[in-house]
């Protein structure tokens, strides 16, 4: 793209004369710049105000996310400012959406503190989203150089080691969130956990807002839950777990709760995304030191990830969380009750599970990303899914995923154990059929019906929910191939 007033002012006395220059003139627009292997790259979707040139807007984003302020400052000349200036190097109109542009920005590695997502976030999204010349801005994707990736320890456990510890291979893991979310006493809560695990689930889960309320203090929950977990383990001969949510008001209290979970023999703890980047990294370090799986519930993300014109894409959040070091991450279901275009959601799964992520525009991936051997995050599909969708879930997401059926377990007409058994039988039958070479996308419903002939709980699940689907048009879709939600 070309526009007037976009060339950097090279003459130093003019460049640094007191007053206001366009960001492009200050040097934040560099169309000839070739990004270096060691640069951090970002692509933003921007909607400039009417009359604001897209290139100048892109330069402003580069400026405000690195060294610039609104006016010229002579103190730039005390620094190697060419290095520290982020460089907008490319601006493309968004296909089919007038007024929106993708702008590509390169940041020198020296701009970032090693091993700190708080620093990355403060730099890249600190200022620019409130910037008046833009109506809206969205951080679509980022590329981290492998040199920077290696400054993060990453997931404390990862998919491979979690499976080895759980002794569970070759199929998605199964979970359920304890319902109702609020109000159960510790003893009643543990009952739900026991029934779900004994019926065949691998994990049960605290919900995001279960912390330590008057109806159930956290220590009571932990004690009853661990009785349930161990009882179910003895009843099945399997390793089982419950994500004990340690989210609390202070870091010290979270660590205290995590320590108690460890003393009780829990294999997993959980935090909510709302605790913040630094707290997440601290919990990750703690989990690494204590052989604990860290489950991340992405509570609150929809406030900034869902609308396409403004905010931060979940693919960026997923990248930051893999660097922060979480083991499980809720990444969408595509077929359930919550937002999620299937290909966009697959893009999130790739970020969690790839050794090397490839550019894939229909899946929303703008960059190649070398993960530098960082462990892989187990994605979690949770929210409005049921046994009747098992073939779709297995086809979309493969084996390395936790499928969480909350209502689809606890709301079963024959009880929680039956609900859990229905899900486990549906899953194992589908994996067996897939491995035998059957086309589960086409034959899935037949495979489920055949298993239901000998498994009454599965028959009841299909009778109750078989026809339920959530067909709404997703908002967060790729601009490169429009897709509709699968039914």
């Amino acid at each position: 793209m070309e526009a007037d007033g976009v060339n950097q002012v090279k003459d130093a006395s003019r460049r640094y004369a007191a007053g206001v220059l366009k960001y492009a003139q200050m040097g934040y627009w560099a169309p000839d710049y070739v990004p270096r292997e060691t640069d951090v790259l970002a692509v933003f979707r921007i909607t400039p105000q009417d009359g604001v040139d897209a290139v100048e807007a892109a330069a402003a984003v580069a400026g405000e996310s690195s060294t610039a302020t609104w006016t010229v400052v002579w103190t730039d000349r005390l620094t190697a400012c060419e290095t520290y200036r982020a460089k907008a190097y490319r601006v493309d109109p968004v296909p089919h959406i007038p007024g929106q542009y993708f702008c590509w920005i390169a940041y020198d590695l020296a701009l970032f503190e090693e091993g700190s997502i708080a620093n990355v976030a403060a730099s890249i999204i600190g200022n620019v989203f409130s910037f008046k010349p833009l109506k809206a801005a969205r951080l679509e994707d980022m590329r981290f150089p492998v040199a920077y990736v290696k400054t993060f320890p990453g997931p404390p456990t990862g998919i491979v080691v979690e499976r080895e510890r759980m002794d569970k291979f070759g199929r998605p893991l199964l979970g359920a969130t304890t319902k109702p979310k609020l109000g159960l006493s510790g003893r009643n809560y543990g009952r739900v956990v026991y029934e779900g695990l004994k019926g065949g689930l691998d994990f049960m889960k605290d919900d995001e807002n279960i912390n330590s309320q008057p109806f159930m203090h956290w220590r009571d929950r932990f004690l009853f839950v661990m009785e349930a977990v161990n009882r179910a383990s003895a009843a099945s001969g399997e390793v089982k777990g419950h994500y004990l949510n340690v989210t609390a008001g202070t870091m010290e209290e979270m660590i205290r709760r995590a320590e108690f979970a460890r003393e009780l023999g829990s294999i997993v703890v959980m935090v909510d995304l709302v605790v913040g980047w630094t707290a997440i990294q601290s919990m990750s370090y703690w989990c690494r030191q204590h052989d604990m799986v860290l489950h991340m519930h992405r509570a609150g993300h929809g406030t900034y990830t869902r609308q396409k014109n403004h905010g931060v894409s979940f693919r960026v959040i997923a990248k930051w969380l893999r660097l922060c070091g979480v083991d499980h991450l809720h990444a969408g279901t595509a077929v359930g009750k919550l937002e999620g275009d299937p290909m966009t959601v697959q893009g999130f799964y790739n970020i969690c599970r790839d050794s090397q992520t490839e550019v894939d525009l229909p899946r929303g991936l703008f960059f190649d990303q070398d993960w530098g051997g960082l462990r892989k995050v187990m994605p979690v599909a949770s929210g409005g899914i049921h046994a009747g969708q098992m073939h779709q879930l297995l086809d979309l997401f493969g084996d390395d995923v936790v499928l969480q059926f909350g209502g689809g377990t606890i709301g079963h007409p024959q009880g929680i154990q039956a609900g859990a058994t229905a899900n486990r039988v549906a899953l194992e039958a589908m994996v067996l059929a897939r491995n035998e070479g059957r086309d589960i996308r086409e034959e899935g419903p037949d495979i489920l019906r055949a298993a239901a002939r000998w498994c009454a709980p599965l028959q009841a699940a299909l009778d109750t929910w078989g026809e339920i689907s959530f067909n709404y048009t997703p908002t967060d879709t790729s601009d490169f191939t429009p897709t509709a939600t699968a039914s």
Partner: protein, 147 residues
């Protein structure tokens, strides 16, 4: 009870034709198969005995099934599982493991509780087959222990 370790334990026991199809699936993906057996199916008993090392060079299902038949003949009342290993970078671990032989009666596990300070309990799991007597057979005259 029925121990539900392994990928397919919630399904009816697989017949040989079904097992062979899973073996084909594994071989088709370049995985090596191993046969392991134990009479101590504790959930944390990671290292079952190997019936020979993983069969890296045996690439045909009939050969694997013949080995499995030999293992079943040698250990008819043990748990036997087929384990598939994927050596590719980024995985280098087990990618499928399922039970293909189990004893006729599975007495299951006893949950031991050691009450300590506060209401904290230290739990241990112990196999009845290894020790003691199972649920329903602990009080002579009021239950049966079948064998």
């Amino acid at each position: 009870m029925r121990i539900t370790q392994g990928t397919f334990s919630f399904l009816p026991d697989l017949d040989d034709a079904q097992v062979a199809r899973q073996v084909d699936y594994c071989l088709g993906r370049g995985w090596a198969l191993g046969i392991e057996y134990t009479d101590d199916p504790h959930p944390r008993n990671t290292y079952w005995e190997m019936f020979g090392p993983p069969m890296f060079d045996l690439r045909d299902a009939a050969g694997i099934m013949a080995e499995l038949a030999r293992c079943r003949a040698a250990w008819p009342r043990h748990y036997i599982r087929l384990t598939a290993f994927d050596s590719s970078a980024g995985t280098e671990s087990i990618v499928l493991a399922f039970i293909v032989n189990r004893p006729a009666v599975e007495p299951g596990f006893r949950l031991l509780r050691h009450e300590v300070a506060g209401r904290t309990v230290r739990y241990s799991i112990e196999s009845y087959a290894v020790h003691a007597r199972p649920e329903g057979a602990r009080y002579p005259g009021h239950g049966e222990m079948t064998d």
